[in-house]
Symmetry: none
DNA sequence: TCGCGATGTGCGTTATAACGCACATCCCAT
DNA sequence: ATGGGATGTGCGTTATAACGCACATCGCGA
């Protein structure tokens, strides 16, 4: 969840040393003092976006090169951050929302007979549903659509929508919610 | 392209007013003083990445929402053509790549004993793996990590990485590949 | 008209990002 | 050893990000 501020310095240092650059050289390349660069790499200072941009620009690297959080770490759903809904939905977060990536992802189990109405999200929000097991129905744009295992549906979630399971077995789905770059 | 630092405040203000939020409300949502938010919106102050992260996270918006401008939304279901790899991987596209969303998503089945080495992708590319059935191993940052069903892993894919299945059953996983917003 | 809540901005203070410079260390070549 | 160049870190100063609070303004209803 947290931006992992300590790690952005480590990525910068790795990026720099990988191409054999000195702090002094980088300082001249991007117009940031090498003392500041050293502090950032050691996690003793969090840069402003202005200086981070100067660094990324001077190194010709995308911003996301330094900003992505928690890379290479396995998330084990040990004790459930698992959260049961009143309507019979069991929601398990898979990937927490990350501002740099713009989406979050859940595993959802729909018990038999479950019905969940969802009020519209913010404008531009898009949901992606992948059915893993069982069968479910999605209310989208005024009508119910049936999805079997292996089928997917992408829809605009800034409208009223809902999920239900009228089958005789629980349904397991993945739900990816993507937040827009513009409304 | 230049970051257009003056415009990031305008985008924040537009984002906020579009959903009828007050500075005070946003301040409480993301833990940043409303005075600071006002200054940022007016371009009188450039935030640190820490506060920008707090803002984006509190507003459930991607960082790139304020760093670059974009527009357009498409929502269409995709049909699944299936594609077998030489190494024993069966790759089924779930969601095709969409430039507006910045990612694509596959369902992958790893047959028993399968081994697939992947050369590095472009800088900033991030993969998200979710194990659905069976067990698999991922080579990330110099070491193999084991993932059981229900476990997930996010890693930087601009480095050498690989997948293999040394279990006795086929493994089913989802793979989401996110491409950075280069600048 | 009066007042009251809500909103956004100005102000003084504190925390800290960023700079320039000097110092310590390491690495070679002599 | 020994000196000199290159590298990374510590230190004092300055610029400014960030905070809390108070003030000005704008509806809106009594």
């Amino acid at each position: 969840m947290s931006p992992d501020l300590a790690a952005i310095g480590q990525r910068m240092r790795q990026f720099r040393t990988e191409r054999g650059l000195s702090l002094d050289r980088v300082a001249r390349l991007c117009g940031v003092s090498k003392a500041m660069l050293g502090q950032i790499e050691r996690g003793e200072s969090t840069p402003t976006i202005a200086t981070l941009w100067k660094i990324a620009s001077g190194l010709q690297a995308p911003l996301s090169r330094f900003l992505v959080g928690e890379s290479g770490v396995v998330h084990r759903p040990t004790s459930p951050p698992r959260h049961r809904d009143a309507s019979g939905m069991i929601v398990t977060p898979l990937f927490a929302f990350d501002p740099m990536l713009g989406f979050e992802m859940f595993a959802i189990e729909l018990s038999q007979g479950c019905l969940s109405e969802s009020s519209p999200h913010a404008p531009g929000v898009i949901e992606h549903v992948v059915v893993l097991e069982g069968e479910m129905e999605l209310f989208v744009e005024g009508e119910w659509q049936t999805l079997a295992a292996g089928e997917v549906l992408r829809f605009a979630a800034d409208q009223p929508h809902g999920y239900r399971n009228r089958g005789r077995a629980p349904a397991k789905v993945h739900d990816l919610i993507h937040y827009p770059f513009s409304a």
